[in-house]
Symmetry: D2
Subunit: 335 residues, 4 copies
Amino acid sequence: MIIQLKTDIRQSEHVLLHRCLDQMEIPFYHVDTQMAKYLVCTPQRDFDIRRIGHIEGIKDVHRVSGPHKMVSSNWKVGRTSLRFDDGTTVGPNDFTLIAGPCSIESEEQVVKTVLELKKYGLKFMRGGVYKPRTSPYSFRGLGMAGLKMFHEVCRAHNIKIVTEVMESEQIDEMYPYVDVFQVGARNSQNFNLLEALGAVDKPVLIKRGISGSIDELLHSAEYVFKNGNEKLLLCERGIRTFEKAYRNTLDLNAVPILKEKSHLPVIVDPSHGIGIRKHIEAMALASVASGADGLLLEVHETPERAATDGQQTINFQEFESLVSKTRCLKDVLNK
Amino acid sequence: MIIQLKTDIRQSEHVLLHRCLDQMEIPFYHVDTQMAKYLVCTPQRDFDIRRIGHIEGIKDVHRVSGPHKMVSSNWKVGRTSLRFDDGTTVGPNDFTLIAGPCSIESEEQVVKTVLELKKYGLKFMRGGVYKPRTSPYSFRGLGMAGLKMFHEVCRAHNIKIVTEVMESEQIDEMYPYVDVFQVGARNSQNFNLLEALGAVDKPVLIKRGISGSIDELLHSAEYVFKNGNEKLLLCERGIRTFEKAYRNTLDLNAVPILKEKSHLPVIVDPSHGIGIRKHIEAMALASVASGADGLLLEVHETPERAATDGQQTINFQEFESLVSKTRCLKDVLNK
Amino acid sequence: MIIQLKTDIRQSEHVLLHRCLDQMEIPFYHVDTQMAKYLVCTPQRDFDIRRIGHIEGIKDVHRVSGPHKMVSSNWKVGRTSLRFDDGTTVGPNDFTLIAGPCSIESEEQVVKTVLELKKYGLKFMRGGVYKPRTSPYSFRGLGMAGLKMFHEVCRAHNIKIVTEVMESEQIDEMYPYVDVFQVGARNSQNFNLLEALGAVDKPVLIKRGISGSIDELLHSAEYVFKNGNEKLLLCERGIRTFEKAYRNTLDLNAVPILKEKSHLPVIVDPSHGIGIRKHIEAMALASVASGADGLLLEVHETPERAATDGQQTINFQEFESLVSKTRCLKDVLNK
Amino acid sequence: MIIQLKTDIRQSEHVLLHRCLDQMEIPFYHVDTQMAKYLVCTPQRDFDIRRIGHIEGIKDVHRVSGPHKMVSSNWKVGRTSLRFDDGTTVGPNDFTLIAGPCSIESEEQVVKTVLELKKYGLKFMRGGVYKPRTSPYSFRGLGMAGLKMFHEVCRAHNIKIVTEVMESEQIDEMYPYVDVFQVGARNSQNFNLLEALGAVDKPVLIKRGISGSIDELLHSAEYVFKNGNEKLLLCERGIRTFEKAYRNTLDLNAVPILKEKSHLPVIVDPSHGIGIRKHIEAMALASVASGADGLLLEVHETPERAATDGQQTINFQEFESLVSKTRCLKDVLNK
């Protein structure tokens, strides 16, 4: 059960509500986000909603069955759209393209990419400065110095930054330079990181775990929401299966399922999904057709020379084709 | 290596060719299909192609690396289109919809379905009369009696039948009533069945195994081709993974990969893929966008009362919407 | 529900029983095996067992919940032991080693292997004459000629033959020369083959499918039992997962689960499981400790020269060590 | 390549060595652990080892092919044994049982468990105070207060504590009360946590990821070693597959593979593996037979009332049986 509270709920009403819930032996959690105040209740058994419904200060009460609460589509009318300060939105009425290199490598690289993105009116650039790498001997990213440079260029061109944060200790330092914090597949169930991001007032894009279930992805988003941040994006990026013909099994089945179960926007990352440059476009188109609200793409001027993930990164020319085709497809689907 | 032979190759040229190959210690296999004659050679090491290239009776010689030979895209210019006697084609220039119930249940059912398919100009109806069922206590299909009835109705309306054959012994009996033999996911590596279908002059649609790799699907098609039947359709129908939110993981990554590796048409079955009625349309659209040459769909007047697979079968109204949207999408993609 | 019938049940009692079941609208199936007569009933709802319990000719009535019936441990006291004509048994009181090459290659090979097996008192030799191969260009086995030679040598030494049958058409021809019919992993859900083996009075060893669930393996055994053959062995041989460090994931979890759910003997094939020669012994020992009733092992005088599966086959010396260690382990576990 | 340095290497020798490596353009990393000093080199191409071998201060030089370096079995003679201050060892010559509840719940619980462990001479108790939980609404553990109590009881009885650390920020606070830091399956690729644990001088037990490959587990251990901590334990705990008959697929194939590839001790956790109480013993025995150096077990006085993981936790009586049988088995295997 989710109880939406009025933002001007009085202390006395709070006390009354708590007392009622305690009397009915219903556990509850305060969820105060950037946008609203809620109580999430996890009752063990059925009860009469009228016993609390009359309390002033309550805006609405929703029964939410199933394990997910705040992220569930059960209680919210319509799907969620994220809104940035400059009016940019991400959600069901948009088709959001987030593109850029796997790793931030140099100022020249960022400038060239930004100019390319602006050609097609993109508003978000991705790029990693902290790279989770399987081997400790691999390139790990440019770190904070890279992020500051990345931010300077992007700010000058009015482009928003999506970049991965790897642990809670990094959040404060990164905060001024980041527009969307990305949680990578390997950290999809790093619950401490998720909780820490609950205290942030900037959006969080959560990738599905390498072999994460759809259910687990929703629970991970629930962690962030419960801790106060409801600006969330879910991201399908491929799962690990027995098939060896490509890098990961991009699981587009997840798109309609996530949209059914949750009100949050769903982004697909075909680059990490199939992981083969020449097939990124086909999977990008399929992602759009499956109902995705946006795409996360790896783009580089010369993928052959990219510091990381070159084999799955498209070049500027391929990017132009992809943007044009996916937008065209989205237009048809919207009709 | 694939040697294409002229159809009028003389016996003496044959003998000469064999002698050359024997001298070079190159194993070879005769492949005589409905359309052409080939020799598939599997040399252990490199050799000088000129030593055979001069022989009269040879039409062309192609180097084909990799484990797949006849089904490989390496030797054939352009992708294959299947051609039926009445001029109907299935392939890269078509968008083939094959629809119908999981199981053939009654004449009334077949008639209603056929009329529905004809409304939208479909030329193929699917429907099982031999049903592979996990439990021996489940409904197993109407068998030959059902097939004959199915055929009678379809012939009257000029609709072609796609239906599953479960073992080689059934082929002869089924032959007069079938237009496309379907090999189910559980028989995808039933090599005896595949070989027996190599002797048939009607098309074979091979489904990917339940946890079959893309490579194995191509090998299974190779079995049929090598034994003389090059009328082949590959079908992606979902693989088995850890995810429990849906029936199977429809693996659309397989579509561009299959089209890269093979010249054969690729059909997608979203019904068995995601296996959830309300999400069939999203996955059908995604299949089209991924590049599929056609769709295999479970359709029933009243899915709630279907003998089998009702939970993943769409009704006539949903089918109308799906046909219209997928065709519209295909049109845009073709531009 | 399983109704055990007396072997001398009278026709009139049969009629009465059918009438009772029909009146209660309970579907039922006759199962007449080499050993006994049963009726398997699949009622849709609960009913009063006393309405049939009084009928003469009934030996016993068992409620069996769950999808599996005849193979379920629910109705049978104790675990099953297979008994051969010469008194050899396979089951919970034995520890059965079945060993031999992947493929039968020559008489010399068979003779050498048989002599090796007899050194350690083994009673079963495995060896394929029909080999399911992913590629149609691979070695496919010696066929019937090989089987006859195999049988001649084995009969002379009083060794029983376990060999794979690939389709129902082969059964009659193979029958005189086979002691245990093996159903391979790729045929684990070849329902026509399973049904045909139900009509045979020799034991059937069914391998779990390549990505077959434990539940499916039990259903496949149910197919054979329901069609009249209750001489069954279940075989775990590794499943397909994402892990690439070995051939298959030998799933020893399946052993205690199969023994809990079914009364049938459980054999483990560590050769196909881990698929790496130097680790076969470790997995064989683990199989024994997990509770397996026997092992299926690939052994060859010179694995390096084996026609098939050499990389996972142990030589005679390694075999001696393995036999000695596994038997020693089994003795300790039996205490 | 791994260069072992003498502990008393002089600064001038260091400089000389660096200069040589720089001249040959070989990247290198200093690894200074509690026990020794190393240089890990990752040359791109072959080179003449004699060009550095003569430098004083070098103890030994090992070529190590493959992606893993410090954790690889390539450079170390014999397998590693961890040694605690009181002389307790964990490794190939021991059989280490680590047992205890999933979650620390109360002092009474800890006392009872400790007394039970001492009956059988165990030296390690497991117990979580920080619990990674899929849902934010689940019990999360007693935290630091619980750990301090846990430590007090254990210290009084000379029992060592194995407990999970969830993020690098927790390490300092937990340090005084922990003997072995456990990295859970969900944090198996939390590279920041792994690096932070590299700075600790206490052992780290790393669990394989939920769908982590064996290769990834070794890379995760490499992270810790490279950052200075060579006291490492690898732990197999089951992987995620399609099979639904149990919780996870305990992958005992990993045991011989890990022992082949790495010199580090291998522990198996059958409780999280199969995840079914009545089958823990069978899988524990199989783990021992597969070659495990120890077991991690969930034990609780009354599993039915355990705060977490009750369904896979054995009670004291079952534990007694398991200890006795596994030790007996280990004795036989050691002969």
